[in-house]
Symmetry: C2
């Protein structure tokens, strides 16, 4: 995957988390898309168009709660499980939308899905060119990207 | 969601599992899309176009292994975890493609993502009109659909 594309998704992630949740995050490396990374809650969204693919944001639950609490200006302890799921769906939707703008609208985005389950892993399609961007905040989290140029 | 659409996805699921895995499955009811259903492996795919959304096939691991073993004409005990993930990605991809044909190509499909993790749940977007189709084989499994007509 070319660097411009990876940068677009990395910058979109940093920008959305800062803007929506006031949370500064840093890139902490990259991995091949076939590596396994684990988390407790993931937001997944499909991409179609001249680039087809999917992206998945995989978070530890403590970070997901913190981000959503910041977004909603609530205390993390007040959040229902559904608030966290909806918030993570909103975050991945905004990351995809922001990256779309940075990529000259070269893809369309689907509705998001959110997966909840302790220590699950998301595998993106082997047909796409895959990369995993590792980020760090207090805890590590990941954005997986799988893209196939058509 | 209108019955024609639900039928298209239900028939696509039955047809793909019969054709690819020689496995006959029956519909066993429907639930509201906000209900929670659990499984060990899910295939998720995004839809964009005049209908935007996502679909998720959520399976118990024993059924996933049986389906993929049938697809590959292998014994379930010989399968690697990656074979099962790739097989479930292929199944959801074919279900989406088959349903697309039944819906007059009114949407495009993204690349699939596959989630692995004991007893996880997939929530589709609350912006879409959601429904869960329950199927039964020896064990129950689910196709979740969330669609927003544009």
């Amino acid at each position: 995957m070319n660097k411009t594309l990876i940068d677009a998704f990395a910058e979109a992630t940093k920008s959305v988390l800062m803007m929506m949740a006031g949370t500064e995050v840093e890139m902490d490396g990259m991995m091949d898309g076939r590596q396994k990374v684990y988390g407790d809650i993931s937001g997944v969204i499909g991409l179609t168009g001249s680039m087809s693919g999917s992206i998945a944001l995989t978070l530890p639950v403590e970070l997901a709660k913190r981000l959503v609490a910041n977004m909603l200006a609530m205390d993390a302890s007040e959040l229902q499980e559904e608030d966290v799921q909806d918030g993570v769906g909103e975050i991945i939707n905004m990351i995809a939308g922001d990256a779309k703008g940075r990529c000259n609208d070269s893809f369309k985005i689907s509705l998001p899905s959110v997966i909840t389950g302790k220590r699950h892993t998301v595998s993106t399609s082997k047909e796409g060119d895959g990369v995993i961007i590792a980020f760090k905040e207090k805890v590590p989290f990941y954005l997986q990207i799988s893209l196939e140029e058509k």
